[in-house]
């Protein structure tokens, strides 16, 4: 066999993308690791110095950090979990035949394409305690007597922002799962019909097993995305009242905007490690496939 001649072309072709990504992703990650071991507060630039694990020690004794960590888990579990449930439902509906299906499918994706700031603004107005439409609807239906200040009290604020992230994520799930549904061959369902399978049996025995891959990848992508999202919470509540809606990424962002870069880097590093644990099965999978 002739040994293949070394070809420089593929390397030249990936070089520009690789260079940019190295500059904007890999170097910053390394820089962030260094910063997490420093006192790096741009409000006190003369005091920047290496302080070992002090940032991490501060982090683990910071009650706000623990609250944010707990909130992140709730945010991701309920946010992504219910996005999945409703997204799945919408996909099943869109997979049926009806007039105008293409238009409905396209329109249903708009929340996904909407900027987070606008999402925060729209829902903040819907939830408004004095003139909000949600209070008006609930009162008209006789479910409440007094308007609720949804975003300003700790008992309702977090639930309200979670509803918003669910709203934002339903379309993405629906579209991904719909594509998976359309890839299942109809023969399987026909065979099941001949055997007299019920609707539920078909869903449980054919549909869900065939969608395993799609569901797995979509959930992973959404977990990473939702855990990292800042703009919706930041614009609805800013993390308040009394930290009840503050997730880790919002806390990191708030610390970074007041220029305490060392401390926020160490928390961001912690967040990345947590997500890496979640993402390892996904990466292993993609390496095998490609």
């Amino acid at each position: 066999m002739i040994r293949k001649k070394f070809n420089i072309w593929p390397y030249l072709l990936i070089a520009p993308a690789l260079l940019i990504v190295t500059f904007v992703v890999f170097l910053p990650v390394i820089e962030a690791i260094f910063m997490s071991f420093q006192q790096y507060d741009l409000r006190r630039p003369d005091q920047i110095a290496y302080i070992g694990f002090m940032n991490f020690a501060e982090m683990f004794s910071d009650p706000v950090f623990w609250q944010a960590l707990k909130n992140t888990v709730i945010w991701v579990v309920f946010g992504v979990g219910l996005q999945f449930v409703f997204g799945f439902l919408l996909a099943l509906l869109l997979n049926q035949q009806f007039k105008g299906r293409g238009v409905v499918r396209a329109v249903s994706l708009i929340p996904w394409a909407t900027p987070g700031v606008l999402i925060g603004l729209m829902w903040k107005w819907i939830y408004d305690g004095s003139y909000g439409v949600l209070n008006d609807l609930l009162m008209k239906l006789g479910l409440i007597d007094q308007p609720i200040i949804f975003l300003s009290q700790t008992s309702t604020a977090f639930g309200s922002v979670i509803v918003t992230i669910i709203w934002q994520g339903i379309p993405f799930f629906a579209i991904m799962i719909l594509a998976g549904l359309q890839a299942i061959s109809t023969e399987m369902y026909e065979a099941a019909d001949i055997d007299g399978a019920t609707r539920l049996q078909k869903l449980w025995r054919i549909t869900i097993p065939s969608l395993k891959n799609v569901i797995f990848i979509t959930i992973l992508l959404r977990v990473i995305w939702v855990a990292n999202s800042v703009d919706i919470i930041h614009n609805m509540t800013g993390g308040g009242p009394s930290y009840s809606t503050q997730t880790l990424s919002v806390y990191i962002f708030n610390k970074a905007t007041v220029l305490d870069l060392g401390y926020s880097s160490s928390m961001a590093l912690f967040l990345m490690l947590m997500l890496a644990i979640v993402a390892i099965p996904y990466l292993r999978n993609s390496f095998k496939e490609r």
Partner: protein
């Protein structure tokens, strides 16, 4: 034999739940729009109206007149356009290499692009802020273009690799046998066929850059502010002037909607291809 479903069955199992979900998904947009055309008296009255009794466009006039909404629109537009062009160029080249060549380290390089999606924005934000500051790029549009490459390049490489895989290599091989070199074959044969996919990817990049908020807050100032940051500042400045805020929101979403509908079919195809096959 196909069983004909009764209308009642179809209503209960399809139309009713579909209408319920679509109402939930679309109502916020409806509410935002009618708020923006309500006169103030109706906004803060004791009765909530579900369609304005008097329609007014003063909020939009004020937004462009008093608040100079055109500047941030222009900023957002230029940042998103430059990001799209740069990202598409480098990503198409890389995706071509990944699908048409076998080379040492290919898997590792592909893995590098994939792992990119894992890094939290907030993690990159902090060192990038420090780097931009030391390069004197802070508060310039360039800093945003560079920052947006962190999430647009990995995603575009992934999407374009998927599209290119579906194009048989026999396409350009035939042209190369006819004497065209690889570059010429790419431009003459691949590019025209790939164009719809490139446009769809471009739409994705454009929307993401247009919407981005966390980097934009830290990397822009009065002059270079983009739309989402302006909207956020408006919330801070105006507090409860919801007619102006919602009008700003409607202006923000219109360009996104237009280009999204323009490319949605191809975009959905590209987004879902990787996960369905993989």
């Amino acid at each position: 034999m196909v069983k004909q479903k009764s209308l009642l069955q179809k209503t209960l199992l399809l139309y009713l739940p579909l209408v319920a979900i679509m109402l939930f998904l679309l109502f916020p947009f409806y509410w935002t729009f009618i708020t923006s055309i309500k006169p103030e008296s109706e906004l803060y009255g004791s009765v909530v109206t579900y369609w304005p009794e008097n329609i007014t466009f003063t909020a939009y006039q004020k937004l462009f007149g008093e608040f100079n909404f055109l500047l941030p629109m222009f900023n957002s537009f230029s940042v998103a356009t430059i990001t799209t062009i740069v990202t598409l160029t480098v990503s198409t080249l890389a995706a071509y290499a990944f699908t048409r060549f076998e080379f040492l380290g290919k898997k590792i390089f592909m893995g590098l692009f994939l792992t990119n999606n894992m890094f939290p924005n907030v993690l990159l934000l902090i060192p990038l802020f420090a780097i931009m500051r030391s390069l004197n790029l802070l508060y310039t549009p360039i800093s945003l273009v560079i920052a947006y490459a962190t999430f647009t390049i990995p995603f575009s490489v992934w999407m374009l690799t998927g599209y290119l895989k579906d194009l048989p290599s026999s396409l350009e091989e035939a042209a190369m046998i006819d004497g065209a070199n690889r570059a010429k074959a790419f431009v003459k044969v691949i590019l025209p066929v790939l164009m719809p996919s490139i446009i769809a990817t471009g739409v994705y990049i454009f929307i993401q850059s247009w919407n981005e908020y966390t980097f934009a807050v830290l990397f822009t100032n009065e002059e270079t502010r983009t739309i989402p940051v302006t909207l956020k500042n408006l919330i801070g400045q105006l507090g409860v002037q919801w007619d102006l805020l919602t009008a700003g929101g409607i202006i923000t979403i219109i360009p996104v909607c237009i280009i999204f509908f323009f490319a949605q079919r191809k975009l959905i195809e590209g987004m879902t291809a990787g996960s369905v096959k993989g």
